[in-house]
């Protein structure tokens, strides 16, 4: 339970500066908070509210709309198993049931050791690779029950370094160098873009 760390606060300021209106940074900042704590805490939401200058209630309002934001602790590894149509046709539901057996929890629950949460999710855009799943949003395609078991065993043994703990979304961030920055364009900035003006003037001459 924490406000954003000083390092994350730097990142937060950089993200906010990209947008013409601060509130647009709300979802990226919620991801940042989730990356820091593994879930989205009330304290972090209050901090985000300060940063984007809205009320905490507005932050909660946005946060609770989106599936990916967890409002209570989840496993270090969130295992999302797709059961939507393309996966259902090729054994997605059976894979989910197998996962529930293997980890001895129902979908939506977290194992007692805090390592795994299983989710029964909607289409994750890997339909030609069914049945598929994600661990912390990293894809695994055409998964057999045996492969699922090995994956879980690997994760327990800590031999899957490529999968960061839950919350870390992208390991590469956008960074706009100051010298190359065109700048956020505020909705109140009524000027016509310069390249349009130039082209019109050249056309007229």
């Amino acid at each position: 339970m924490a406000r954003l760390s000083s390092e994350n606060l730097e990142t937060a300021y950089e993200i906010i500066a990209r947008y013409p209106v601060k509130k647009s940074a709300l979802i990226p900042l919620l991801h940042l908070a989730q990356e820091q704590d593994g879930w989205v805490t009330d304290v972090a939401m209050a901090h985000i509210a300060e940063l984007v200058e809205v009320t905490p209630a507005e932050v909660i309002g946005t946060c609770t709309f989106y599936e990916m934001f967890k409002r209570k602790p989840v496993g270090k590894y969130v295992v999302n198993i797709c059961t939507n149509i393309s996966c259902q046709l090729l054994g997605g539901e059976e894979l989910l049931h197998h996962a529930e057996q293997k980890l001895a929890i129902k979908a939506g629950a977290t194992t007692a050791d805090g390592l795994f949460t299983i989710e029964d999710v909607e289409c994750i855009a890997a339909c030609t690779e069914a049945p598929c799943l994600q661990v912390n949003y990293r894809y695994f395609h055409k998964i057999t029950h045996g492969e699922f078991d090995s994956l879980i065993d690997d994760l327990k043994a800590g031999t899957r370094d490529e999968i960061p703990a839950h919350g870390t979304l992208a390991k590469v961030r956008q960074h706009i160098p100051a010298a190359r920055r065109a700048g956020a364009v505020a909705p109140t900035d009524r000027a016509e873009p310069v390249w349009l003006i130039r082209n019109r003037q050249e056309g007229a001459s």
Binding site: G61, Y66, M68, C123, A125, A126, Y137, L169, R181
Partner: protein, 455 residues
């Protein structure tokens, strides 16, 4: 032109291992379209895209060039928003484009911003696609450093920032006004149209062009090769190529770029070059032609070309290019329930018919599947669906702000109308329906087989 001669337009770099890097991209004509665009006036570029009749690849199929002209004159600033929230069940193409050829999209974004006069662009990528976000972030960082994005692009007075933005898990955000709400930091609920047509009143109530990832990824090729080359490909109303994901019970599920409007469903499902037919030599039972929202198609639709007008007329849509194939052993009640459950989970809750209707339809279907259904439950189900999509017309009559609610009724109408016997087995008695069903694809079995194959 045979299928083998069709040039790969947007998937041309899919097998090039380093296409996601700036070097790899530039080695294969990367950013040449942008350079060519900057030699022209913005108006010339916009005219060229309009002449290309590039239909939007996100679902609705609205021509991108026309969409651009809908922004009111002399209202500034304008924004470009890229819809990369690919979530329609069965759809798998934008994620590939983002992961394998991110610079192609950036180049398309820049060409669009230059032509339309957008002061800033936002790349809204679905939250669950971590790798796509990493690839896009790395590509943007490289492109900024090399002078392709940002201030004074390629040494000209054209300047625009492209901001990478993430979603956080909500199918409805693929609807363009919901996407704008989400980008403003709000719950992703659609806005009422009119007045909130994004081209007039979009992001921060300013003119906003919302284009799909695949749509914009076509622009570098069109500008580099010219609209005449583009218009040689495809059918009269559906130009160029299109990417389709074929999934389900096929031998070779995959993502295929084919000539738009020429290739048929039979080609793409059965040809060994594409999906290679039904697994285990089984018979086809039904297929979804364009994502979970699309009414199902059957054997008699196989010879329809993948072309917007013909598919619309036959009572369905190409939507997001997602073809899901179901073999003869598929339990259609189970399949329909899974799709209805999806829409019930993803309804944003703003409009009553959708919020209440999808939830009740899921419950009724679950009861039927669990073996506790009564024969009259199927009529109840169809009556509930009829309250969301009146008379099951195609295109549907709107009772809600966005089409999600109507989409939830298409798997029900498809399954009930065509596989009534399966429902009767579940409920243990004959079913009597008391609703009017007008959508062409729902009605059957058809006597119009010849007409269907001749379109």
């Amino acid at each position: 032109m045979t299928m083998n001669d069709v040039p790969k337009i947007i998937t041309s770099r899919f097998d090039q291992g380093d296409a996601h890097t700036l070097d790899g991209y530039r080695r294969t004509h990367g950013y040449e379209g942008l350079a060519a665009a900057l030699e022209k006036t913005p108006q010339q570029v916009a005219d060229e895209v309009k002449a290309a009749s590039l239909l939007g690849r996100g679902g609705a199929g609205f021509p991108a060039g026309i969409k651009w002209t809908l922004a009111p004159a002399n209202v500034w600033p304008r924004y470009l928003v890229v819809n990369g929230d690919e979530s329609e069940p069965g759809t798998y193409k934008d994620r590939m484009l983002l992961e394998r050829d991110p610079h192609q999209l950036i180049e398309g974004v820049l060409i669009a911003c230059y032509a339309v006069g957008c002061g800033q662009a936002f790349l809204y990528i679905r939250g669950e696609m971590a790798h796509a976000q990493e690839r896009m972030a790395a590509a943007l960082n490289e492109a900024y450093a090399a002078g392709f994005v940002g201030k004074n692009i390629l040494g000209t007075d054209f300047s625009v920032d492209v901001v990478l933005h993430w979603g956080a898990g909500a199918y409805i955000v693929g609807e363009e006004t919901a996407l704008i709400e989400s980008l403003e930091g709000n719950r992703g609920m659609p806005r009422l149209k009119p007045p909130f047509f994004p081209a007039a009143k979009g992001l921060y109530m300013q003119p906003t062009i919302v284009n799909n990832v695949e749509t914009l990824s076509n622009l570098p090729w069109i500008i580099r090769n010219g609209v005449d080359e583009w218009n040689k490909l495809g059918a009269e109303t559906s130009k160029g190529t299109r990417v389709f994901a074929v999934s389900g019970h096929v031998n070779n599920p995959g993502v295929f770029e084919v000539e738009f409007g020429v290739t048929t469903f039979r080609d793409i499902i059965f040809d060994p070059k594409f999906a290679g037919g039904i697994r285990g030599g089984k018979a086809l039972k039904a297929f979804i032609p364009g994502g979970a929202s699309a009414p199902w198609f059957y054997e008699e639709h196989l010879d329809l070309p993948l072309e917007k007008v013909a598919i619309d007329r036959a009572g369905s849509m190409l939507g997001s290019g997602a073809i899901v194939v179901m073999d003869e052993d598929t339990d259609m009640v189970k399949a329909a329930l899974r799709l209805v459950r999806f829409f019930a989970r993803e309804s944003c809750g703003k409009c009553t018919p959708c919020r209440e209707g999808t939830t009740w339809m899921e419950k009724i279907m679950q009861r039927i599947l669990d073996g506790h259904g009564r024969p009259e439950d199927v009529a109840l189900l169809m009556d509930t669906a009829d309250n969301i999509s009146v008379d099951f017309m195609w295109p549907p009559r709107m009772t809600t702000i966005c089409p999600l609610g109507q989409s939830a009724t298409t798997p029900i109408a498809s399954a009930v109308m065509r596989f009534k016997d399966e429902f009767e087995r579940y409920v243990g008695g004959p079913i009597e329906l008391n609703v009017t069903v007008k959508g062409a694809a729902f009605i059957g079995p058809p006597t119009r087989k010849k007409e269907g194959s001749g379109v």
